[in-house]
Symmetry: C2
Subunit: 166 residues, 2 copies
């Protein structure tokens, strides 16, 4: 899909707002489960997304932006594990970080494709710039994922001391 | 997952609110594309969901409800057709109705499973009652789906006069 500049800006604002909301949710959940380190990661990510969204809003002043539908920017629902119980799944910092990473990659791909497909020079420039920012978020999440113990494959029925397995 | 009554009520309110929001979005989109009949269907569905949500809120007065995460109640993102272009996909009333139906079925299944899995008599009673309401919505949507021309398999590149095919 080839975006005009207003379409691109509307998507970018919506993507950043959605990311800020999802990161805040993840941070709250980590705090409620006393995973303070991971909560801080998600709070930082929420802050970056809010700042970025506000920057784009500022650049968009004076441009009439189209109204988007929720499914044009929402994060994917996390994969389900063990039926409906995908909440406890995300309560492990490891899985929450992977979930965030998956959605950052989607954001990055959205921006790259928008840059590639649009004939508009400004969409190309901003699309590349925003894709690079998302890719920095992926790198930041990867660092945290590396530091975070991977739960055992059967973590749901194991103790919390379970260590990394393939 | 076996729900306590407060957990069940929190999910039910969130499900109905989410449905009301999504139906309102679908109605707005149909109106913007001059599909007034389908817009009316979605407006009615939004109204039922709002009323039902308010009923459940009323019953829940005095009960402390847990906070839910967005992924515990959100509608599934509609399936993508032709890459990122899932918006034009939903712009056909036929596909929008199928999308709504899929999510009503998810709601129905949620309520049935909650009724089946909970030892709480009130969760069982309400779960069955709410599942029946969702199933009436599915029947209502099915009637509209029957009346709605099915776009050709290659509708995206066809004219709007395209008729039903398998």
């Amino acid at each position: 899909m080839s975006f005009t500049l207003p379409q691109f800006l509307a998507h970018a604002i919506a993507l950043e707002d959605e990311a800020a909301e999802r990161y805040t949710e993840l941070a709250d959940m980590m705090e409620a489960h006393n995973n303070q380190d991971t909560a801080e990661v998600f709070k930082d990510m929420a802050k970056f997304s809010t700042l970025h969204g506000n920057d784009i809003r500022e650049r968009s002043k004076g441009t009439a932006l189209p109204k988007l539908m929720s499914w044009q920017y929402r994060w994917k629902t996390p994969p389900e594990v063990g039926g409906d119980d995908n909440v406890s799944y995300l309560m492990t910092p490891y899985h929450a970080l992977l979930y965030a990473r998956e959605n950052e990659i989607r954001g990055m791909e959205f921006y790259r494709q928008a840059a590639a497909a649009s004939p508009d020079a400004e969409v190309k420039r901003l699309g590349r710039e925003f894709a690079d920012e998302e890719s920095e978020h992926v790198v930041a999440l990867d660092k945290w994922i590396e530091k975070t113990p991977r739960p055992a494959a059967d973590w749901a029925v194991e103790t919390e001391e379970a260590q990394s397995v393939d």
